[in-house]
Symmetry: C2
Subunit: 246 residues, 2 copies
């Protein structure tokens, strides 16, 4: 029995997120497990590092699964790609240490959010970005982002916070940059709560648009009150870029 690590890229537009749900196979995990089952004749379970929401994309998601096979890793990759739909691609399969677990061993994740500026359009990015209706002040967004850095209780920046599990996370970097027609927000951290990147983005956008004070960030962090944070940005602008391991 070997442990295989997968690098996976997907366009999340058509999927109900990464995580398999009962009674449907229109999740990325479900789709890959279905193809693995067809190829190797057993019910295999794959563990993904990031449980991306419905409509969220991945540039490089990491997953792993255990299998006994004589196929080489490249052969497994090619077989998977042959049967997977075009919006999910296995970039790489490699053998991992027996104890490697994609989610439990992950030490960090990088997400990117893509905004298209007011009065600019990009039809090729329309399913992978959020079209702005207002001008944004990037300096304000950067100042607000600084207040988010470090270890905090991000309870106010997530949906359905669990009472049992910790909502403390460490945000290592938030980078905000622009091209002529785009604005990108890049979040690097130890891990992210449910909807956290999208709420952070929605909040920073409101600050950039002048609809919200920079200082409101502190309030949300201190009170943990979701209603004090901004709107949840649409899923389609968000992409899981990479997963970090020690």
């Amino acid at each position: 029995m070997s442990n295989y690590r997968l690098k996976i890229q997907y366009d999340g537009t058509k999927y109900r997120g990464w995580q398999r749900q009962r009674g449907n196979s229109d999740t990325v995990q479900g789709k890959i497990e279905q193809v693995l089952g067809r190829l190797y004749g057993k019910e295999l379970e794959i563990a993904g590092a990031g449980r991306t929401d419905a409509g969220v994309h991945a540039y490089c998601q990491i997953a792993n699964f255990h299998l006994e096979t004589k196929d080489t890793p490249d052969k497994i990759r090619d077989s998977l790609n042959e049967y997977l739909p075009q919006d999910i691609r296995i970039l790489e399969v490699e053998q991992a240490g027996e104890r490697f677990h994609s989610r439990l061993n992950a030490t960090g994740k990088v997400y990117e959010y893509h905004l298209v500026k007011k009065d600019y359009y990009d039809v090729f990015a329309r399913k992978y970005s959020w079209q702005m209706e207002k001008e944004l002040d990037l300096e304000k967004m950067r100042k607000a982002a600084e207040l988010l850095l470090g270890q905090h209780d991000f309870k106010g920046f997530c949906t359905r916070a669990s009472k049992k599990k910790s909502t403390i996370r460490r945000l290592d970097a938030v980078k905000v940059w622009e091209t002529k027609k785009d604005i990108f927000l890049r979040f690097e951290g130890s891990g992210f709560l449910y909807h956290m990147v999208r709420i952070l983005t929605g909040t920073l956008v409101e600050i950039g648009a002048g609809e919200r004070q920079i200082e409101s960030i502190r309030q949300v962090l201190e009170t943990g009150d979701r209603t004090l944070a901004g709107e949840t940005a649409p899923a389609q602008g968000l992409t899981l870029i990479s997963v970090k391991y020690e």
Copy 2:
């Protein structure tokens, strides 16, 4: 009556090309004319600079049409975008000189073809690129491209060459460059025949893959024999980048 110049961007995936055809509205021109008709209550005809094929995209197509209206150009743009589908965007509307004609006045066009290298994937570009199955030698492609430069009879590099119309065109530049996972081919010229960029691309790809001699380019140019050129590259990898005017 004013003459308006449009800058248009579109994802050609779902359309039967630019040019309106009888009995269907699933062309880009047909779609825009339909919306203009709804907005201004008359049958307006728009002239496009490049008649892109079914499935070919445009980063910036130019068109023009005549209309009497009190609406400002920005208002015309916004109204069009309100009713057009998301895969067609009007980037700009501006008033042009009375005699401006987008196609007849065009002095050059730039097309780009996007290849994704063997063993690399890009799910986000899957509808806008051609996935390679073989390694390509870019130096060979560049040498072959040089033989295409200048004024030639490109009859052998087009489909359904007209006997009445000239097949002589001037190719000003062919640039071939790469990133880690992509190869781009950029063609600049006075004008392009039906399927010409796609056949040039297909031929250069065969040369890059070592399946065809560089010198075969000369033969096609000399004989005008379509059967001596390479395959027609798929429409989806091609994008009209810009149209040039004096």
